[in-house]
């Protein structure tokens, strides 16, 4: 299989399995090629994400994770390798960008910096307007999205988004993406800069979308505790390549390797690892403090008998 897409030969036809939301094979990406600033950002990245999965993408700054997620709605065009998102070939020169971007919602870092409209309603319905949705339908979809993020539509619709608090602004920005009803939600550090309550509000909203609407979630995060508690699977990027791709519980058993990559081991994983080293097995679902407490309590119950 040719790695270069510069040749005009049509790639052999390839069908992605139906349940596959994202399929990447040998994806490479170089910034500023053939200049002194040339930098290989992605190095033979191969991975798949299934529909309905909640996947966390982690790695320290410069590991290539942002470059990777920006491929998912073709903000960065594929240089080499193969990539399919919801069955669309991202290497296809005639790729329908508009349709792809309607299906893959992208929430950037600090999305509230991108608010621009006079009112919340205008801001949230901007994407829909660009997609030619008529006005009544727009208002209805915007109302749904605003309510989904936990804001009172009638109270906020005519407010300026700039008069709102940081957490509210972020939710308005998120509503703008959700109004498009994306099948895949890609988020780059959605909780950065929020207070603990704001963080858990955003995360439970995302978890709810994933659970109830089967939205596939790809979340970049530096907070290993939130990754541990929320993701079905964690993909670790290091030097532009996929270093690990595993369930959170399995991944964070590799404490030394995780710390060598300058990442942190979540508190509940550290705790569980010590218990395991002492021959005490815990159920796999002990991710939150409460779950861990219940599991440990159950252990004592057994020991008492």
């Amino acid at each position: 299989m040719s790695k270069s897409r510069s040749n005009k030969v049509t790639a052999p036809s390839f069908t992605v399995p139906d349940n596959c939301a994202i399929y990447c094979k040998d994806v490479n990406f170089v910034y500023n090629p053939k200049t002194p600033f040339q930098k290989q950002a992605l190095n033979n990245v191969s991975l798949t994400v299934n529909k309905g999965e909640f996947v966390a993408v982690v790695g320290h700054t410069g590991s290539g994770k942002t470059t990777f997620v920006q491929h998912l709605n073709a903000l960065i065009r594929l240089q080499s390798g193969r990539m399919y998102v919801l069955g669309r070939d991202l290497g296809d020169k005639k790729l329908d960008l508009k349709a792809l971007r309607g299906e893959v919602g992208m929430v950037f870092q600090y999305p509230e910096y991108q608010l621009f409209a006079d009112t919340v309603l205008q801001d949230v319905s901007f994407g829909l307007k660009n997609f030619g949705v008529d006005k009544d339908k727009r208002v209805q979809l915007a109302r749904d999205a605003i309510q989904l993020v936990g804001l009172d539509f009638d109270k906020v619709k005519d407010k300026s988004p700039f008069d709102m608090s940081g957490g509210e602004k972020r939710r308005v920005a998120l509503a703008g993406v959700l109004a498009m009803n994306p099948s895949i939600l890609v988020m780059d550090e959605p909780t950065a800069g929020l207070d603990p309550r704001g963080k858990s509000e955003i995360l439970s909203l995302v978890a709810q979308l994933n659970r109830e609407r089967n939205v596939t979630v790809v979340m970049v995060s530096h907070d290993m505790n939130e990754v541990y508690e929320n993701a079905d699977r964690v993909i670790v990027f290091a030097d532009g390549a996929v270093a690990y791709d595993d369930t959170p519980r399995n991944l964070f058993r590799f404490e030394t390797q995780i710390e060598e990559m300058n990442l942190e081991v979540p508190a509940m994983a550290q705790f569980a690892n010590v218990l395991e080293a002492n021959g005490i097995t815990l159920p796999d679902n002990c991710k939150t403090v409460r779950q861990m407490y219940d599991a440990v309590t159950a252990l004592r119950g057994k020991a008492d008998v």
Partner: protein, 285 residues
């Protein structure tokens, strides 16, 4: 000795009411707080609780509408004091990219002392010292734009140090950094503190609060509680009310302790806590 005294200070922002008239929004209201020289103080609270407003009152970026802020014995509302106050209180903000003013690291660090009219040979000395303190000497001739977030924040701290302040205010300076960047910045902050610098750390990361001498909790523009980190984290009702939570390990330790386990209630290290739980289970067997 007290280095900062905030006496019943309030500050209001201009805000427009729904009918278009000009009203006011509380930045901070009736805040009273005393900060000891050489202490490491955390300022916590949810978004919009007034932490950053309070930080800006500390070096006269904002002047209280009522009440009084005194820094090193100087009243911030007296315009004649402003230069002297800003020499004593260095600030580092959240976004590393917004704080770089020059295209070479050493010029960026020199910006402060240059503005204060420090003679050139002394500036060189100050810049070298400041970069050494944050462990960035080898980057003196580099461009700040190609550094990592943590390195940029250390340069920003060096810029503050070059004015030789007595107080360093870090206003969510770790919020945009990855775990390694956060560690770098915090290490520098603690090391400066050991050298006598008063550090005020504004943060949403409760793990960072654990290592501070004291914590001031803000809510609705006012300080609602002060204490040691553990006194604050022990107060579940307070945390709940102001939308904060203790670090996960501390939460688990408290739950276990309350259920009768023999564990250190204020355990901050998950591995230690795990070991204690293992011992408990052994004893039961």
């Amino acid at each position: 000795m007290e280095i900062i005294n905030i006496d019943n200070a309030s500050y209001y922002y201009k805000a427009y009411n729904d009918d278009g008239t000009v009203g006011r929004a509380v930045g901070v209201e009736n805040v009273t707080l005393s900060i000891e020289e050489g202490s490491f103080v955390a300022l916590v609270g949810h978004n919009g609780c007034g932490k950053s407003t309070l930080a800006k009152l500390l070096n006269g970026l904002l002047v209280p509408a009522s009440g009084k802020v005194t820094v090193c014995g100087m009243d911030t509302s007296d315009k004649n004091n402003i230069f002297e106050i800003r020499k004593n209180v260095g600030m580092v903000f959240q976004n590393p990219d917004n704080q770089m003013v020059a295209s070479i690291v050493e010029e960026d660090v020199a910006f402060g002392p240059e503005n204060l009219g420090v003679p050139q040979p002394q500036i060189v000395q100050r810049v070298n010292d400041a970069l050494a303190q944050v462990g960035m000497s080898e980057y003196a001739k580099r461009s700040p734009h190609r550094l990592s977030g943590g390195q940029k924040q250390r340069i920003a701290i060096a810029g503050a140090l070059a004015i030789q302040p007595k107080v360093l205010v870090l206003d969510e300076s770790t919020a945009m950094l990855d775990p390694m960047g956060r560690r770098e910045v915090l290490q520098v902050a603690h090391q400066l503190n050991r050298g006598g610098m008063t550090v005020i750390l504004i943060t949403h990361f409760m793990e960072e609060v654990l290592d501070c001498d004291s914590v001031a909790v803000m809510d609705g523009g006012t300080v609602v509680a002060t204490g040691t980190p553990m006194q604050i984290f022990d107060n579940g009702t307070l945390l709940n009310r102001v939308g904060l939570r203790a670090p996960r390990t501390v939460e688990l330790a408290h739950l276990l302790k309350n259920a009768g386990w023999n564990v250190t209630p204020d355990c901050v290290d998950a591995r230690t806590l795990g070991g204690e739980v293992c011992l408990n289970l052994d004893q039961i067997k």
